[in-house]
Amino acid sequence: MCKESYTVEDFVLDPEFQKWILHPNKDSNTYWDDFLSKHPHFKGDIALAKKIVVNMSRRSTKVNDDQLAATWYRIEQMAETTTFSEKEPSIVPLNAETTLKNHPKEVYYTDSRLGHQQFYRLLAILVITFGLAICFNLFLAPEETPLAEVLPEVVLENHFAPPGVKSSFNLPDGSKVMLNAGSSLSYVRGFESHQRFMELEGEAFFEVAKDVNRPFKVKSGDAITTALGTSFNIKAYDGSHLDISLISGKVEVLIPSAENSVLQLEKGQGIRMKPGRNTLEVFEFDEDLILAWTRKTIVFRNTPIYQIKNVLENWYGVKITFMNSPERDLEISGKFIDQSLENVLKGLSHSARFKFVLKDDQVFLTFNP
């Protein structure tokens, strides 16, 4: 991260900064002196960050040697009874024999009655079978699934909608997600116990199921949007500006790299961050425009031709090539509900005055002179 966009928190958490504060040396002094003379406005932030690092303390609860020894004694005692694996091959037959030896009287005394003999034979077979099964479970099973019990692996779920395809699905908590073309969403399978955290690239619309104990968090680019039960749209395609629009309810947006980084949005408000800048812009939006994509609708309002190219390429999963340069400042408006690419291009070709050739997943546009 570039230090020009640092907040107090970022300084505190920067290992180099901590090192300078706690164990300064000549090099780090030179570096930070230089940084401060170049960026004098950081003086206040750095002073506060320093104060936090210097005073960082925790309540410490050290256990004494007796307690350590007592715990070891308990572990040793219990470990004694877990000597297990070496004996296991001999246990299996032994157990079956012992089981049989436990019933000799019955077997011999009922000798005369054939029916009973049959019954005990059956019983013996059942006992041996179950005995073996139990032995196998007790002594073999732990070997096969050992580490899983100590450390469950974190499995990441990843949904990806390739260009040209939109995808809707439900999350494990019942929240609904609609993923726009060329976007991906990933999260820990089943979510963690304390939060519903996911990372988004591209655009998605969320209808969040209420769960006050597990905040719903979406990380997109630099921003983390937190919601409890609400619906919102995030647009964060790589290299394009980041838009977060709130349709209903309330969300909080955290952008560590920006000034005034925690923002509460009201219904109908959105925030926009331009790529590479740290300033935020709050805007009122038109719900129809923002959510048009979820209704299979493409809306252009005085949209520059280069942006239209990106939208169509992603929407239909095609590659568009301009055969000659369009007029600069060419902006077009139009609205297309569930239309084929050909119809959209036909519609646009009148106002933008171009001819087009559609071949497989390639589109060639030639603008009229």
Partner: protein, 192 residues
């Protein structure tokens, strides 16, 4: 504990780990002597209840004893033990459905002291009342945030290692730490 009392010089953790993998109890004891103090400090920082933490740590060591044959793949012993302990503690918290340990009993309270971050210079600039204040803020943070700060500032783990221990990605680790520092900042920025 024979090892600590008999020979003052402990052998390397790897030496004991290899013994443990082969099923030698000396290995288990060596690993315990090396890491138990840190694991207790870590556990008690999350849950200030000696009996609770003792049970968790005991379980962790019995588990590695039980499954010693599968431990040869472990590349970083300390990370592995912290991760196992962290996992065990959160699992037990969930099972006990106990969320608040704010009430310290007398036995536990006697063990509590304020531990400042390590530095050669701290004495010159730190103020004791501020350290107490920060320690109190840390105490009230959500457990995961507290864990991140503890690992970063007191256990000297890197962000990568903390992410591994807590089973989350780097971004989430940083975000948790960031939020924790925001809270600390609020309590310190008043009297700049």
């Amino acid at each position: 504990m024979k090892i600590i009392r008999d020979a003052q010089v402990l052998k390397s953790p790897e030496h004991y780990w290899n013994l443990l993998v082969r099923g030698d109890k000396i290995g288990l004891e060596g690993i315990y002597c090396q890491y138990a103090p840190e694991l207790f400090a870590f556990g008690m920082s999350l849950v200030p209840d000696y009996d609770f933490v003792q049970d968790c740590i005991q379980e962790v060591f019995l588990d590695i004893w039980k499954y010693h044959r599968n431990l040869h793949g472990v590349s970083n012993i300390k990370i592995y033990l912290f991760k196992s302990t962290s996992h065990k503690i959160f699992k037990e918290i969930k099972r006990a459905k106990k969320t608040d340990w704010a009430e310290l009993n007398e036995e536990n309270l006697s063990l509590v002291s304020i531990e400042p971050v390590e530095s050669e210079l701290v004495k010159l600039q730190a103020k004791e009342y501020l350290q107490v204040r920060v320690a109190n803020v840390l105490e009230k943070l959500p457990k995961r945030q507290k864990q991140v700060l503890n690992h970063l500032f007191f256990d000297h783990f890197t962000y990568e290692e903390v992410a591994k221990i807590m089973g989350i990605n780097l971004r989430s680790t940083y975000t948790l730490a960031w939020k924790a520092i925001t809270t600390v900042k609020k309590h310190l920025s008043g009297d700049r």
